[in-house]
């Protein structure tokens, strides 16, 4: 991206132009939702691709995040004799921050890039133009199903991630380090609130991240220069822009929701 930005001023205007174009693209996408109901099967296929196929990486990462978090917390909290609170801290940090953010970052890397590359190649090989020639709306057939699939898949993946993290934390904390099983769960249930932590934390955040990642992935695919180099750039930009957007949005959402 730096190669294409010789002037500092241009970076700012380019970024602004990208954000503006992205916003307009979002309106187009939302407008195409009613038309895309015709292609419900395509949405299901995309849901399979971005959601079900991402399960392995999400589950393994969730397990390890929970395990390492518990290990770290146990050693710090044992200084203060507060190891019984570590299960609760694992749950709260996973629900409020790590779950949605890490899932979104993994989702951007696993599914976002694939979507961008696929649409970019469709563009480079003139498949999008061919669709228009055949009177098939490419927004309704290609873009919206992928966007909706990401929107649905993210909260579900995030729930799976969080459940695996709790399982990992339990595995390390209770089975290995010997925290009392009842204390582990009682502290957790006493502090985790279904509204602020699970609805606001897990579901709302992951829904927002799902929308942002899917929008950026589809947008980058559609606006890529139709060359092999352009597709490579677009894929990179999807990861970079998604990561920045996720972390920035996370701060804003936390500030408003907490």
């Amino acid at each position: 991206m730096n190669a294409r930005a010789p002037q500092g001023n241009n970076v700012v205007t380019q970024s602004l132009a990208q954000i503006g174009a992205c916003g307009l693209f979002l309106l187009t996408l939302l407008g195409a939702i009613p038309r895309s109901f015709r292609y419900l099967r395509e949405t299901v296929r995309q849901l399979w691709f971005v959601g079900a196929m991402s399960l392995t990486i999400i589950m393994v990462c969730g397990l390890f995040v929970g395990m390492v978090l518990m290990l770290q917390l146990y050693h710090v909290l044992s200084i203060f004799g507060g190891t019984s609170a570590s299960g609760m801290v694992v749950a709260l940090s996973v629900y409020r921050e790590l779950g949605p953010v890490v899932t979104a970052l993994l989702f951007a890397g696993r599914a976002g890039t694939a979507v961008t590359a696929e649409i970019g190649l469709m563009r480079a090989t003139d498949q999008i133009d061919a669709m228009e020639m055949m009177a098939v709306d490419p927004i309704a057939y290609v873009a919206t199903p992928r966007f909706l699939a990401g929107l649905i898949a993210m909260p579900l993946l995030c729930c799976v991630f969080c459940a695996m993290a709790i399982f990992g934390g339990h595995l390390v904390g209770v089975t290995w380090l010997g925290i009392d099983n009842g204390t582990f769960w009682s502290n957790m249930t006493a502090q985790v609130d279904i509204h602020t932590d699970i609805v606001n934390g897990v579901l709302l955040k992951s829904l927002a991240f799902g929308a942002v990642v899917s929008l950026i992935a589809v947008f980058q695919g559609f606006t890529t220069p139709p060359t092999s180099e352009g597709v490579a750039y677009a894929t990179t930009r999807t990861v970079v822009a998604s990561s920045i957007a996720i972390l920035a949005l996370d701060f804003v959402l936390t500030a408003f929701l907490m």
Partner: protein, 283 residues
């Protein structure tokens, strides 16, 4: 990937079901709407006057070994005692009727649990029965009070004499705090008042009559027991041949150190605040 379309639908359906199952797990097992799933256990009641921070599902222990968990905590209807239901595993069904249920804290800051100390009765407590003998939680403030405050002060059987000392700052010193010499309690603080004219704190110390040979140039200082302990007055003996008498005033005093001032001095060496504090030292 070249499977017929229906495989996508089945896989996607499985994915959605798994996602919702995970959500249901998070909502029911790890948050406050969780239900208690019981194994083979029976319920015993115990009444406490103060349960402190005891929570539902906290462990119930005998000799430190977990035998069950707290099932529910409720205020006894029409009473001011807490009715705690303990669910104890069936394997431990031989708890004597006169056992004592106590609320303990694991460590200083840890969680609270119910400990059952076995009695000697031949009769065992039945399911649904009540453990009549209980010991409630000890509030930390009370224990600290006993430790530092009234409990440690010598009783004034032999009578006491009072001396005055004025400090520019007494911190959180209050009436009843111990007066110590060489670390031993020799009296207590009778009153702490602000002087309306000199604008400092007048502290009246009641010292046991037995200690009547304290030199009159001794200094009084407000110290803190440990980092977070309560404050007390320490008397450092001087070298004068004359002893303090009833109604005397101690001239040399050292005020309480304010943690904020200390940190301030540490961080901003030689700030204007130092001039003001210079007078707060020995007077």
């Amino acid at each position: 990937m070249s499977q017929p379309r229906s495989s996508y639908a089945v896989g996607t359906g499985l994915f959605i079901v798994l996602g919702f199952a995970a959500l249901a797990y998070l909502a029911t097992q790890t948050s406050s709407v969780a239900n208690v799933r019981q194994g083979d256990s029976y319920v015993v009641e115990a009444q406490f006057t103060n349960i402190g921070q005891l929570k539902e599902r906290a462990p119930v222990k005998v000799a430190g070994v977990r035998v069950g968990q707290v099932q529910s905590i409720a205020l006894k209807p029409g009473g001011d005692v807490a009715d705690v239901k303990l669910s104890i595993e069936k394997a431990y069904d031989r708890i004597p009727q006169d056992s004592v249920a106590t609320i303990f804290t694991s460590g200083l800051l840890g969680d609270q649990y119910v400990g059952i100390e076995y009695g000697s009765s031949k009769q065992v407590v039945a399911a649904g029965g009540t453990l009549a003998r209980t010991k409630s939680t000890q509030p930390l403030e009370e224990m600290l009070g006993k430790f530092f405050g009234a409990g440690g002060v010598v009783d004034n059987v032999g009578g006491s004499y009072t001396v005055k000392a004025s400090f520019t700052n007494v911190g959180t010193l209050s009436a009843g705090a111990p007066v110590k010499m060489a670390g031993v309690v020799i009296g207590s603080v009778q009153s702490v008042h602000a002087d309306p004219v000199k604008l400092n704190a007048d502290v009246v110390l009641a010292i046991d009559k037995r200690y009547d040979a304290i030199p009159d140039d001794s200094s009084a200082a407000v110290f803190t027991s440990g980092l977070i302990g309560s404050q007390y007055v320490a008397i450092q003996p001087g070298g004068s041949p004359d002893a303090l008498k009833d109604g005397d005033e101690m001239i040399l005093t050292q005020s309480a150190l304010q943690l904020e001032d200390l940190i301030g001095k540490f961080l901003v060496n030689g700030s204007p605040g130092d001039k003001k504090d210079a007078g707060a030292g020995n007077k």
